[in-house]
């Protein structure tokens, strides 16, 4: 006899929920998918209750990778927290750095030179390419294609990681942004290499779309699966490509216009059905827009210093006050809420994790779908456990 329900439902259960033991339809099957599961993108667990094939209840369970990043942030200096932001969403360290640096700059009213702003946009768009390429690879891996799309995705990702390595010294843990600019000027030939990578990224996308977008099996597996309606997305705080795939036009690069984004013209793709296929396609179209931004930014990047001369590295103290600043990360709106009491350490250091908040509606998307779809839906939500658990 299954004991009292350990996981009360947050939202009303699907229409066909019935008593656990039903002599006519057989028992409900309680399955724990994870934390060591091949397709959950890290230590993430789903307590799924199955009625035969369809999902009746789904409780995400996480915290396996929780190391209390925010407590560490409060016990370390402002500069000391910068390398830790690489470990938040470990696929997109450059955008995490930028979000944190932007927050501290707003907190202290720090100016940033032109060249550093352009560099930040270039690195953020390269990170967006990298993250969306990874997502497309993982999504297809969840659908069952035995590694081929993933290998093509990682082949392209390596080119971008080589750029990061020759710039910041490390492929994934870049620790490159500082309060008031960037740490080191791009070495000779780096901008040229970035132009070639951005230049022929379009060919890779064409080949990738030829392999996948028209694929009938992929369409059968993802169209109409995990439909996210617009109002629910907005109320659940879903941000990033998932929100735009639900048809809501909200891209912080256009809304807040931070950095030098207003100087580039680019478009924001919108989905119409809000299902898994739209989430995949919106990210592919966003990659094409990012290539456009990269071309413009790499063309107009000015010379000059990359670090504001008045910026203090070591004994950096922000005046008392608080700030909530946010940027459009590849996974959604990544924000930092800092409260400073004037000391060398922030009084309160809070990260707004887009992966965690996008997971709020995982159960709503999966109710009524089949067990094989939950894996595909989770893949389309694009979570990274470093950011979910912090």
């Amino acid at each position: 006899m299954i004991g009292p329900d350990p996981f009360p439902l947050s939202s009303p259960p699907g229409p066909q929920v019935r008593p656990v033991h039903d002599p006519f339809h057989g028992d409900l099957l309680e399955v724990s998918m994870g934390p060591h599961h091949p397709s959950t993108h890290g230590v993430f667990r789903m307590m799924v209750t199955l009625d035969g094939e369809t999902v009746v209840k789904l409780k995400p369970v996480f915290g396996y990778l929780h190391r209390n990043h925010e407590k560490i942030g409060e016990n370390t200096s402002y500069l000391g927290s910068m390398p830790y932001t690489d470990r938040l969403d470990y696929l997109c360290s450059m955008t995490n750095n930028w979000a944190y640096a932007l927050a501290v700059e707003k907190l202290a009213g720090q100016a940033v030179p032109e060249r550093a702003e352009y560099l930040r946009v270039i690195l953020a768009e390269l990170t967006r390419l990298l993250n969306h390429t990874c997502l497309a690879g993982f999504l297809l891996q969840d659908c069952g294609a035995s590694g081929t799309p993933l290998m093509y995705a990682f082949r392209e990702r390596e080119k971008i990681l080589d750029l990061f390595e020759s710039l910041s010294g490390s492929r994934m843990m870049c620790n490159y942004q500082r309060f008031g600019g960037c740490r080191v000027d791009p070495p000779a030939g780096w901008l040229e290499a970035a132009r070639t990578v951005a230049g022929n990224y379009g060919q890779f996308l064409d080949e990738y779309e030829a392999l996948l977008t028209g694929n009938e099996i992929l369409m059968a597996r993802t169209q109409g699966v995990g439909v996210l309606p617009g109002p629910l997305a907005v109320s659940a705080g879903v941000t990033g490509p998932m929100l735009r795939a639900a048809g809501v036009a909200y891209d912080l690069r256009k809304v807040d216009g931070y950095g030098v984004y207003p100087r580039f013209e680019f478009r924001v793709p919108l989905g119409a059905h809000g299902d898994t296929y739209d989430r995949y396609m919106v990210r592919v179209l966003e990659m094409r827009e990012s290539i456009g931004i990269l071309r413009q930014a790499l063309r107009d990047i000015p010379g000059g210093p990359i670090m504001d001369p008045k910026a203090r590295l070591r004994g950096f103290r922000a005046k008392p006050g608080e700030v909530y600043s946010r940027i459009e990360g590849p996974k959604g709106e990544i924000g930092f809420y800092l409260i400073s009491e004037g000391g060398p350490n922030p009084y309160r250091y809070r990260v707004r994790p887009p992966s965690l908040i996008n997971l709020t509606i995982l159960e709503d998307l999966c109710l009524g779908q089949s067990i094989a779809d939950t894996v595909v839906i989770l893949g389309s939500i694009d979570i990274v456990l470093g950011e979910v658990d912090r």
């Binding site: 000391g80 390398p83 690489d86 080589d162 070495p187 030829a210 009938e216």
Partner: protein
């Protein structure tokens, strides 16, 4: 299920299969132990202490045990004990030196903040990554002797950064010598009448 999308996909994989035999772009694996990829110059792994020359590494360590890096290191993996006595450093000024300088490689995340905050350019990032050892402490807690590497090694792995650092240090040294010579000249010539302006310091 018209199948045209599937055929397109099969065509892409076929092109990659054939391409992998003649097109280097479609055959990306390097056989690691035999072939090695060329590391970019900015690559950083674990820090090392710079000594002026390879002959007497402990004697010519640039580090003056000011413990700034120990305080600034986010994961607190550096441990320094100041020396009791002082010894002359490159500029001839008597400076402290670290009696004990440990870095726990298991804790260090090679974020190179210690390199940024070190005012004496005494610690730089290394490029060695084959560091597998059997013991936790003897293998991974590197002491002063294991960390020290000559400046020539630094110039070899980070040429541009080394050139810039050496340029700066040489300039500081020259400035220190000029000041010292000017002070010595000013001390040596107070007797002549003060009306005559002190001779300009030697070039």
């Amino acid at each position: 299920m018209l199948g045209t999308g599937l055929l397109q996909g099969l065509a892409v994989t076929a092109r990659n299969l054939l391409g992998s035999f003649h097109d280097p772009k479609r055959f990306v694996t390097t056989q690691y132990p035999e072939e090695r990829t060329k590391l970019p110059e900015a690559y950083r792994n674990f820090p090392f202490l710079v000594s002026e020359n390879a002959v007497d590494p402990m004697g010519t360590l640039r580090c003056v045990a000011c413990q700034i890096c120990e305080k600034e290191c986010p994961p607190q993996c550096i441990y320094i004990e100041k020396s009791k006595d002082k010894k002359a450093d490159a500029n001839g000024k008597p400076q402290l030196y670290p009696a004990v300088f440990d870095i726990d490689l298991a804790v260090c995340m090679s974020c190179q903040i210690c390199v940024e905050v070190c005012p004496f350019d005494a610690i730089k990032m290394d490029q060695v990554f084959e560091l597998a050892t059997a013991e936790r402490f003897n293998g991974l807690v590197l002491n002063r002797e294991a960390l020290a590497k000559p400046n020539s090694y630094f110039q070899e792995i980070h040429p541009t950064e080394a050139a810039e650092v050496d340029g700066r240090l040489a300039a500081d040294r020259k400035a220190a010598e000029d000041k010292a010579r000017a002070a010595a000249a000013a001390k040596a010539a107070p007797k002549p009448p003060s009306a005559l302006p002190p001779p300009p310091p030697a070039a």
